[in-house]
Assembly symmetry: C2
């Protein structure tokens, strides 16, 4: 193998060694034109869809609905709910936080994925997805599911970041949300979104239960956060402080168990928090990084609260899908997050002023509940 | 800058980019001749010295000793205890697990460090040290303390691994213990030792208390563990499974709080476990890696137990130093660990058969207590 006629053998070996071992490439420079950007109203809105549990579509029945709702209820009700939410909220991004399909009941994983994401694709709104613990339980592996997702239209999902090849899991990536076009934040990411694969099940015999976010993923997160902070305060238009971040993944962190009715908004109807049985430290890693203001997971369909711990809100979206377990008479629901930029006195827009959230119920009026502020500058 | 007269500009740029970004260099191949090796008796013995709290030597008084012991008691008693332990146990390695000096009372950090490690240096036995939370509270920074330690005689301590330049803390490194000379394990590390900087205090305002092992350190640990596993099963003389590992650092993990008298050997006299107030996940990272069989910390001088959780023993050494808080009438103590190789039927030595531990008290007979097996093949 040769890198050029004039290259010495020693240099070639050095190059080969370097290239072969390069599991962490340099983090790429910010894209000249971000794929996501705050709107001219100074807002960026995210719709979170947790636990669709999509299977075979029309032939897949609904679980845990009222007797009067059973007939004719199927995965299509899940699709209809996404469609209605999109019309009602007109989000800038749709995030699917795993268990997008319910593998054991999905005859063909690719077809189920196509159908599950179809309403998002049809809306022409950018969307992103991560994996839950059930996505790989059909005909595709976790890697296969994530690769299939990445190939779908309008998605910003990535299998994994190009700069972190030795990372655990599939579906770890970040997205930057540029400031309003023409503002001083035009070339800055004013909001940083982190997507992580929280795994499926423990592969360690002595540790039962669900998977967790590994050191390699946390190290990638730390480096990415650090790079984004650096870019934020750098020329052109250097800013002070750091841009807020939001993290999306499937399985809640053990710290979600720290709340009770006195210190969260929403409900906690499940007996426990179905986190991993070990604490892999991602909460402390995020607190250390300092930019993430809120975490959004799914997994526990009957918990939909947001609680604040050490300056980070830990939020559930609540169950969305009709083929997912739920509670009859307790509406399926979705979480909305909106970040609002500061309107400058001299005109134009600054950095983020506040981040708010609410949920919408899949009832006739898509009732809004539990509106709350997550962060303000 | 040029890498050779025949090297193209493009290749040079690629090389430069690669080198500049290389915060994780390729892990080096195993040293041809390990610095540590099992003895011809098939044993490798480690003496752990926790919390010397050395200050100014003879003028620094002892804390928490019996009234009859106060007079003439100083840091020199700590030195004498090290000296006696070395004579009694003849260890192959001495490990100091932090709070080697007690910064607030050490007039000159370098002098205190020199004096604290003097008995180890004089013994000509290799030694290694990590930092506690008090080492940097004198005239040197954490980096300064670690750099000073690395410059001392006979130490195998390292400031940080050359392949992980962006790692948090100072004093993260690993040491390999080669098999018996002339055996099939001659060029294998039969026992892997990991040393980590568990930090001093949280730098995050919303998190009070002690520091913790960060994602960058855990990622380095994972990669090192993975490299060592690979080397173990590779030619020449490929072995099955993986060599056991032991981890040494200062601050106990939150998982140390999982034990009570029913499931540990030793004592727990402190009200709580003085771990960080967040769980940074190193326990789950170690369980995931699978090679570490026991963890050895200090920090809580009045706890000296070993308990087993998910196949990993979590052990304290108990307080060693006389200028450290303790309990009058409760002897200062040290922990010994010995790994024993399997004697092969055809002669010679195999991999590790068992790892045992005990403690010695600083009484007249250096009484041995709490002998227990930590692991067996």
């Amino acid at each position: 193998m040769s890198f050029g006629s004039g290259l010495s053998a020693t240099t070639s070996v050095v190059l080969l060694l370097l290239i072969a071992s390069l599991s962490f490439l340099p983090l790429s420079a910010l894209a000249a034109e971000p794929k996501l950007r705050f709107g001219s109203n100074g807002e960026f809105k995210i719709l979170q869809v947790a636990d669709m549990h999509f299977a075979d579509g029309k032939s897949t029945p609904c679980l845990d609905v009222l007797p009067s709702q059973v007939k004719g209820c199927s995965d299509l009700n899940t699709s209809a709910f996404i469609h209605r939410m999109i019309l009602a909220e007109k989000p800038n991004l749709i995030v699917f936080t795993g268990d997008n399909i319910y593998g054991p009941d999905a005859t063909d994983a690719a077809k189920s994925l196509n159908a599950a994401f179809a309403p998002a694709i049809a809306s022409n709104i950018p969307w992103a997805a991560v994996l839950g613990n059930h996505d790989q339980e059909s005909t595709l592996s976790r890697e296969g599911v994530m690769k299939h997702i990445v190939g779908l239209k309008n998605t910003l999902s990535q299998v994994n970041p190009p700069e972190a090849k030795s990372i655990d899991g599939f579906g770890n990536y970040n997205l930057e949300v540029g400031g309003v076009k023409g503002s001083s934040f035009e070339n800055k990411s004013a909001l940083n979104l982190y997507f992580l694969d929280s795994g499926d099940y423990s592969t360690v015999p002595s540790i039962p239960g669900y998977g967790w976010i590994k050191a390699s993923q946390q190290f990638w997160f730390e480096r990415t956060s650090s790079k984004l902070k650096q870019a934020y305060v750098s020329k052109p238009q250097p800013q002070k402080g750091l841009a807020p971040g939001l993290a999306y993944f499937h399985i809640p962190l053990p710290e979600y168990a720290r709340f009770d009715e006195s210190n969260f908004i929403g409900v906690k109807m499940e007996k426990g928090i179905s986190s991993a049985s070990v604490n892999s430290g991602f909460f402390s890693t995020m607190v250390g990084a300092g930019d993430v203001k809120a975490v959004f997971t799914g997994h526990d369909h009957l918990n939909d609260f947001c609680g604040k711990l050490a300056d980070i809100h830990l939020c559930y979206a609540g169950g969305f899908g009709y083929h997912a377990y739920g509670k009859a008479g307790w509406s399926r629901r979705a979480r909305v997050v909106v970040a609002t930029l500061e309107k400058l006195e001299e005109g134009g827009w600054g950095g983020i002023k506040s981040i708010r959230t609410w949920k919408r119920l899949d009832d006739q009026r898509l009732t809004t509940i539990d509106s709350q502020e997550l962060w303000s500058s």
